[in-house]
């Protein structure tokens, strides 16, 4: 389990139901990789995390939230 959560699903909804494929195109990854990030199955590189955050006009730590274990 990754030590952080993410709000990508919520942000996609708030941005007008952006699809995983559209977000993947914006971040330079596949739809399956966006799904894996959303489900906490993949820890993206800093570059992809920043691309996702920038797509929603947010900072990286607005999208990915560290979880104290």
């Amino acid at each position: 389990m990754l030590p952080f959560d993410n709000d990508i699903r919520t942000l996609r909804f708030l941005a007008g139901e952006v699809t995983q494929a559209e977000l993947g195109d914006a971040a330079g990854v596949t739809r399956q990789t966006i799904a894996a990030i959303e489900q906490g199955k993949y820890s993206p590189s800093l570059e992809v995390a920043m691309r996702i955050a920038r797509h929603f006009g947010k900072r990286v730590d607005d999208v990915f939230v560290w979880r104290e274990i």
């Binding site: 596949t30 399956q32 990789t33 993949y42 993206p44 590189s45 992809v48």
Partner: protein
């Protein structure tokens, strides 16, 4: 499921079945004779046809059904998955190379060494693809 994951499943099943048939039907009684090499070579032809045919068939079906998906570039997650599989399979390849060296030192027949080489390659490939499928499913 992505196109690459589908192709991995096809490769895994095709490798398992084709080389399972190869080793199950190889005439082991003639392994120490010169004919053993010819028998192995002859069996590799249908094995290659089965594997390449299965992968080509699934590729063509995927291109027809979803052409965009088949042209998607490998991204960082898929590269990471592929590196993990290749990394683990490397150790098995090295073990197989050492086994073949010892087979030469101990004068194992040419067909025996051929089959040892084939087994090395097949096991390493099954592990490589299997590990990659595991990480596709479980996540990295």
């Amino acid at each position: 499921m992505s196109f690459r994951e589908k192709i991995h499943w096809v490769a895994f099943v095709a490798l398992f079945l084709a080389f399972g048939w190869y080793f199950a039907t190889y005439p082991w009684a003639i392994i120490d004779t010169p004919a053993g090499v010819g028998a192995g070579a002859a069996k590799l032809v249908p094995v290659a046809i089965i594997i390449l045919g299965a992968m080509a068939l699934v590729s063509v079906i995927s291109v027809v059904r979803n052409p965009k998906e088949t042209h998607v570039q490998e991204d960082e997650r898929e590269k990471s998955i592929h590196h993990r599989g290749t990394h683990i399979a490397y150790y098995l390849l090295i073990l197989g190379v050492w086994a073949n060296l010892f087979a030469i030192f101990y004068h194992v027949s040419a067909a025996g060494r051929l089959n040892l080489l084939i087994a090395t390659a097949v096991i390493a490939e099954l592990v490589r693809v299997g590990v990659q499928l595991y990480y596709y499913r479980r996540g990295v």
